[in-house]
Symmetry: C2
Amino acid sequence: MIGKYTEELLKETQENFIVPAENVATLLYSHPLEHALLILSKVGYAKIPVLDTEDHLVGLIGLSDIVNKMMGLTGFEYRLLEGLTVADVMEVNVPTIQHEEDLEDILHLLVNGSFLPVVNEENVFRGIITRKEVLKSVNHLVHELERRYTLEPKKVEQVKK
Amino acid sequence: MIGKYTEELLKETQENFIVPAENVATLLYSHPLEHALLILSKVGYAKIPVLDTEDHLVGLIGLSDIVNKMMGLTGFEYRLLEGLTVADVMEVNVPTIQHEEDLEDILHLLVNGSFLPVVNEENVFRGIITRKEVLKSVNHLVHELERRYTLEPKKVEQVKK
């Protein structure tokens, strides 16, 4: 469990950590891989979310997923992407969260992914929580904590509880 | 400044956060881009360090740096990489640190980069510090802090100091 004061400091500089959907580059699962390659080479993110036509989150796709499909016998060949779509190479069953206020889950899940998609109860994509935004708040926490509070070690029996 | 107890907890589960050089995929600045593309499509990291023949850190290279070079008038063409080396597309002047115990610097620099190269005073590459390892320690910190310590708000005059 995250303590009350710790959580307050983590949330002090930003109410939540969401980069809203309208500011996130995404692809449709039906997009041709040639288009996906163009988008991914331009956005500067290693992976981006994949949606269906009703904005449900269906997966993630990264530049390396596409480049690997281009590998032919004598090198990389663009024409190997012909006829393929995002759905053919995207990563599915990705972890998501619904409750962006749940710092405990967010901090755990961000150990293994550089961002975390946020969805509503119908799995509609609402945005992402990035390591970058969380690390900004971690900087605030570690700088302010002992400036604002005196820390007193608890007695052993209190800690065990 | 990071307080004493905060820093102790952050460093409790791992002495430092370095992934040592021998466990990090790297490229030589003189490697052909065709080779770099192969390595980067396989390693699963968006960017990796670039070294010279004496292990000095000279830059970083990412998959998107290479894919962008393949963009021709009618699509992506592998042959556009011919004759080019890592040095032609790598990112230079990247932030590094020498003192892996300096948590303050590390936490700040990791807001803007997913990893941070560690070098010695001769700029020889020693390893990387990743957001992943730091976030593991942040999880430990936020869970243990108020389990072990009682936090007492300081008086206003103490905080201002």
